[in-house]
């Protein structure tokens, strides 16, 4: 699947995460900002990657500002960002949820 439009989900409140997806050409290109990057950076990327893969997105620029979000929050924000980026908000892919 190709990203149709730049999309954002999430806020900069503590315990939230803001994810911006843009069309890319070179696999998944992450830009991550987080106070817990040292301990959880890889896990944050892995959680978002899993969601992107579930939607068969192959290329994306992913800007992430994490404010200490728990895994379930990261997954929810990633799902929303993907659906907005693919313009399928009205027809979500229930199987990946």
């Amino acid at each position: 699947m190709e990203i149709k439009q730049t999309a954002m989900a999430g806020t900069l409140e503590s315990s939230d995460i803001q994810i911006i997806l843009r069309a890319g050409t070179n696999g998944y290109e992450f830009e991550l900002e987080s106070d817990v990057a040292k301990q959880f950076g890889d896990q944050i990327k892995a959680t978002i990657t899993n969601v992107l893969q579930a939607y068969a997105i192959e290329n994306a620029q992913i800007s992430v500002v994490d404010k200490g979000a728990l895994d379930l929050v990261i997954k929810a924000r990633a799902l929303t960002a993907v659906q907005r980026a693919l313009a399928i908000v009205d027809t979500p892919n229930w199987e990946v949820m």
Partner: protein, 512 residues
């Protein structure tokens, strides 16, 4: 070698600092030898000096140990004024030995480190840009972190030998009689500075308010002071103490506070004449409020409250619920101002407060203390020094000292954001688990297995679920996930002493 809390202390650190590894919190009978300052007697009738710059030139030499206090907290002007002169004059290899370092001092200390002006530091703690710089290896030698009581011990025994103490005071007369409670920049108790005044070779008082001689009540006395300098302002009154302390509305903090209160009131120590110490955080202040009601309901009065004093504690004194406030520092304006009118608010120095190397400190008589933690591990060891990224961002304060109380309660949330507070192993051991009795989180409490008596007393308290600390740790980990271990280099950037001067842990340079 490994010490009692399983921390690996490099042999070269043990050798070059002549350290004994930490073995026990029991220090009864520890031999003590004091080192007193040598100086030339003075008999002049005026110690006033016009220029701070001239005085620094006259008193400071390369390689000396200089000290400051942190009672002006974030409103301190004195530290920056003196350090500016010292840096501009190109001094080298100084040891900085303040009672603690506040954020307002960070930038100039980083500059002094970069220019080789300061090569050694001992402090209660540090934060922000300074903690970051030190954690990245900026300082030539490891910082030595000491508790407030341990600093008193180190000064008395000569482990810290202060050459010149620059002590800011909100008032003084021309002979050096001074206190902390009068003047525009009043902060209340001079508790930590009293050690420097008593033991430094040269004592310089810096004030913005000269009083007619003799200035009383005198906390620092003319018998201890070499010079008095007048400057325009010693501090920013707005930033010295926090304003009125608000009662927390955070439901998590309130829940913790309520549970802490339940632990105290169901413990065997909650009886007439008990004593307690609380910190400043939102939960600690809320505990004071709950405790007040419990004291009224049960007609129980406390004999004393100890340590850093806040307005809510002063209110209890004025209400007659506390007999004495034993006051080593004041955290807010209300507490500072009340020193004047309440004769039962007694100023105490750091030695009287918390020193392990004297003939009895107030903490020895302390029944209940509520302390905080950045991390606490399944051995009940507490970290209040290094952050979740391994960078120095805290202070020992009186943590190790007050933790010797009969009932030591750590109040902390299970997790903060994605960071677990209850962990398998703390990053840095500051206070040994042997000192800690009960951990209170928002989901329930854990009792140190060393305290079977408390386990019996607190097992069936309504609203206080009891878990093992391992269960709380697993709960936290399940919530946030398993963090990747922090990475450090082999280089030691800071040493954590225990209150008896043995070594508890080391902090290593962070790898980025």
């Amino acid at each position: 070698m490994e010490n009692k809390v399983n921390r690996n202390i490099p042999d070269e650190i043990l050798a070059s600092y002549d350290y004994q590894p930490f073995t026990s919190t029991d220090i009864e009978g520890m031999p003590v030898e004091r080192v007193l300052p040598t100086f030339k007697a003075t008999t002049g009738s005026n110690k006033l000096v016009d220029s701070l710059a001239d005085l620094v030139n006259k008193t400071v030499r390369d390689g000396m140990t200089i000290s400051f206090h942190h009672h002006f907290r974030e409103g301190d002007y004195v530290f920056n004024k003196v350090m500016r002169i010292i840096i501009d004059n190109g001094y080298q290899n100084l040891t900085l030995a303040p009672s603690s370092l506040t954020n307002v001092m960070n930038d100039i200390v980083v500059e002094a480190i970069e220019k080789g002006v300061v090569t050694n530091i001992t402090s209660s703690g540090m934060r922000g840009t300074l903690g970051d710089a030190v954690s990245h290896g900026a300082l030539a030698n490891p910082v030595i972190f000491r508790s407030h009581g341990n600093r008193a011990r180190a000064i008395e025994t000569g482990a810290i030998k202060i050459d010149v103490a620059f002590l800011g005071v909100p008032n003084a007369d021309e002979m050096g009689n001074a206190n902390g409670m009068d003047g525009d920049s009043a902060f209340g108790s001079l508790g930590y500075a009293l050690m420097d005044a008593q033991y430094a070779q040269t004592v310089v008082l810096i004030t913005d308010t000269l009083k007619p001689y003799p200035n009383t009540p005198a906390s620092i006395k003319q018998t201890q002071v070499d010079y008095v300098v007048k400057v325009d302002a010693v501090g920013d009154p707005e930033k010295i103490g926090s304003g009125a302390t608000r009662f927390t509305k955070d439901p998590k903090e309130l829940k913790i506070a309520e549970m802490v209160n339940n632990v105290i009131t169901h413990s065997p120590y909650f009886k007439d004449g008990f004593s307690f110490q609380t910190g400043t955080g939102g939960a600690a202040l809320a505990v004071t409020r709950f405790l007040r009601q419990a004291m009224l309901d049960n007609q129980i009065k406390a004999s004393f409250a100890l340590g850093g004093i806040t307005k809510p504690t002063v209110d209890l004194l004025e209400e007659g619920l506390i007999g004495r406030l034993m006051d080593v520092q004041d955290f807010d304006k209300g507490a500072a101002e009340s020193m004047h009118k309440n004769r039962n608010q007694q100023e105490i120095d750091a030695s009287w407060y918390a020193d392990a190397a004297n003939k009895g400190a107030m903490v020895d008589k302390l029944d209940v203390v509520i302390l905080s933690a950045l991390e606490i591990d399944t051995k009940f060891n507490v970290n209040v020094m290094s952050g979740s990224d391994g960078v120095i961002r805290g202070a020992i304060g009186g943590h190790q000292d007050a933790a010797t109380a009969k009932l030591t309660i750590i109040s902390a949330p299970l997790v903060r954001g994605r960071i677990a507070t209850v962990v398998r192993d703390v990053t840095t051991v500051v206070t040994p688990g042997e000192s800690i009795d009960v951990l209170v989180t928002e989901v329930g409490i854990a009792i140190n297995p060393l305290r079977q008596d408390l386990l019996a007393a607190l097992s069936n308290v309504p609203g206080v679920p009891v878990f093992t600390i391992d269960e709380l740790q697993q709960m936290a980990e399940k919530k946030v996930g398993t963090p990747k271990p922090l990475e450090f280099t082999d280089r030691v950037v800071a040493l954590i002493e225990y209150r008896d001067g043995t070594i508890m842990d080391v902090i290593r340079e962070v790898k980025d």
